[in-house]
Symmetry: C3
Subunit: 314 residues, 3 copies
């Protein structure tokens, strides 16, 4: 999340009750979780395993539960509970805002856009020109929709990330990471009925220009999808995935988290993608393999009885 304007890191340290070390005069321009940090960002880390990764990341300001050396130009904000401090900052800059009407006064709706009855458009949503928003669609706060976008009935844009910090203590097992990211839907995108597109935890979930999705597609938080992709019905894509341009996923394909699919990849129906896929290639299977290899494998599988017979005869 970008802050509305840069914030003094000293003010933030005071706000969360942190001891500040390193560059005390810095200005933070945003806050992100570790997968999405950029220069100028605040980030948090509470597990020794990730201390180094976090301190050496692009982030400029690290909320941490240990006194340690701080790289030149960065600052450490030392607190007992970095996760709670992170949530406190997110809550301050993106407080819960009730929606008293189905279409919030604060939403901006472009010319030529038609919104059907029973749709919900939350606070600070922006919708471009010549869009069609069908009945019973939900567009949660701060999401941004481009021009000529069609969103069919029952679809949810901007649901919270499925992202929990595992505590497993007596009272709480999973502590929810508040989602302060948005969903950005670019021009000419069409989304089917009863799809769900989660907002980014701290960054944006992006659906690229001209991409089309069938019904009941799920897109996880912080996932970035390229231009002119086609996703068939019941495809599910986990969080923080990067998908190139012109990618075609057939029905019921599942894609695991934090991986990359290159441009113009095709994945056949019901496949499960556990790792990166190379541009321009066609895949099949769960877990996915190159489709031509998988097809051969299915043929070999049928030859086992014949093979058995040969061995028995020798």
């Amino acid at each position: 999340m970008r802050f509305p304007s840069p914030i003094s890191v000293q003010w933030i340290a005071d706000f969360i009750g942190a001891t500040l070390s390193g560059n005390k005069n810095g200005l933070a321009t945003g806050i992100n979780e570790i997968h999405k940090v950029e220069n100028g960002d605040l980030v948090f880390v509470d597990h020794p395993k990730y201390y180094e990764k976090c301190i050496q990341s692009a982030a400029s300001y690290i909320i941490i539960n240990k006194e340690t050396d701080c790289p030149e130009g960065k600052a450490l904000l030392i607190v007992d509970q970095p996760f709670e401090a992170y949530l406190k900052i997110v809550n301050h800059f993106r407080p819960f805002e009730p929606a008293t009407k189905p279409i919030s006064d604060g939403a901006r709706i472009g010319e030529g856009t038609y919104i059907y009855p029973n749709a919900f458009v939350g606070p600070h949503v922006s919708i471009g020109k010549n869009c069609l928003i069908h009945p019973n669609v939900t567009i949660m706060d701060h999401c941004v929709i481009g021009d000529n976008v069609v969103i069919q009935a029952g679809t949810v844009i901007g649901s919270d990330a499925f992202y929990y910090n595992t505590k497993k203590d007596r009272t709480v097992w999973y502590k929810k990471m508040l989602s302060c990211g948005r969903v950005i839907i670019e021009d000419d995108v069409e989304i089917g009925a009863s799809c769900t597109i989660d907002r980014g935890v701290s960054h944006d979930t992006v659906i690229g220009k001209g991409t089309k999705m069938d019904n009941q597609v799920h897109i996880g938080h912080d996932t970035v999808i390229g231009k002119n992709c086609l996703f068939a019905a019941q495809v599910g894509i986990a969080g923080a995935v990067n998908i190139g341009d012109g990618v075609i996923l057939w029905g019921q394909v599942g894609v695991s988290k934090t991986l990359t699919i290159g441009d113009n990849v095709v994945v056949y129906a019901q496949s499960g993608v556990p790792n990166d896929l190379e541009s321009g290639k066609t895949y099949f299977g769960s877990p996915t393999e190159l489709a031509k290899d998988k097809m051969k494998e299915l043929v070999w599988l049928k030859r086992i009885p014949e093979l058995w017979k040969k061995v028995m005869e020798k």
Copy 2:
């Protein structure tokens, strides 16, 4: 789509700026895309690969981008852009109609039918007697629901087909085929929560009498489903599929497009159907095989290590 009354083919040629050849005095009774054409229909074709198929189809009037011979009694409507001409005709006879209320004045609702709050019923919808339409259901324009039908919460009837004409030119990769078909739901059908049933592109999607579906089932455009079928949760069926009577699909089964499943077929959970299935048989696997063959295959698969050992010992 049937026209409200037969339309002079000369009027249509003038309307789309086409050169008319062949039977200039004909009357067109409807317009359909190639998979669903009937006698009296208009159809379009813009790719040389499909010229012959289209001209020889049941359609009587062919919108085409080439001068060629016209079979006796038919007519050709020659234009540069057949796809755009087709869309222009569809738009004329089925124009976008805004819905200013959750339940349109134009909808017909039968006696004894109860519609919960927050449901949407679009223009020209017809619902029979003694139906139960749950909250947050969406029934889009022109759909037809029989008697004693239950549609559970969040379900969408009549979403647009996922059907695009691939252009891949500089500005547009995928051009949307406008859906002018309907969804027809026959008597005694029950549909679970959060299902999506797409309307036909040009014909009707049909759910046969007495068929029951669990939650989160997806049915594609122009698919015709027989009587007394049972579909478990999260089944997905693509477009233009024909399914017989008494077919049972267990959970998360996927069915590919334009294929036929015979009467009384049973498909086990999570199977993927890539081609026609024969009546009365039971299938399993992705891709599906006869269940008894697939079961044997799974046993053989486990015998590879034993086979390996035998070979090593010889």
Copy 3:
């Protein structure tokens, strides 16, 4: 379903026109279908195959279509159509109740709970404190939601069970079992967008304290889920399943009906669970096997060509 107060079994026999034998002075405390019966319950049986099982079950009062011996202390209610008699009783104690407003007057909503516009909350629903109910959510009648529960947009709580009595006679193939159970959602549960949780047919569907679900998850009727489980997107669980505490199901996992999954089980994405799983173990595949066995099998599968070559060379 528990009755509001114990009901004289003689009154019930008269109400359904049954001949009463055995303990005629008993009081029935509830009515359940056979998988969920408890002491004091009414149950029905109409197929000779299940007569003995039903008579010997925990149920105290058996609606049956045959005169037979009655165990000490129990009663038989003999009618021609036990299924219809069962439905008559359910309908009497849980009659259809129309909902004239999106949020029923009879619903109890705890302090600090926020319900977004376009949500539906049915009659006799109870929602605890500090909950967040997102737009276009449907909570059907009699469901019970604890404290600190989040239900995201488009989700349906309390849809009917997918449970039919197969008749296959000339007019009716499938006769619907009326659902008189509830959904109970315990404290600190979070449910994603566009999920569907069916009510119990006769008992309760329960989601245990602290459990979190991603989007588009389906939970069948009468299924009982433990505490602190994590279900990723598009998981589907059939009816009458028992799931322990701390169970993790990854994306698109399917679970078949009436089985038991032990505590702390992990099931990898796209797996299909056909039978019980043991506590603390990790599973993969469709059908599921121990993940480490399945992984080895996938390696063996790739060695068939090598094995073939060896055999040919010998």
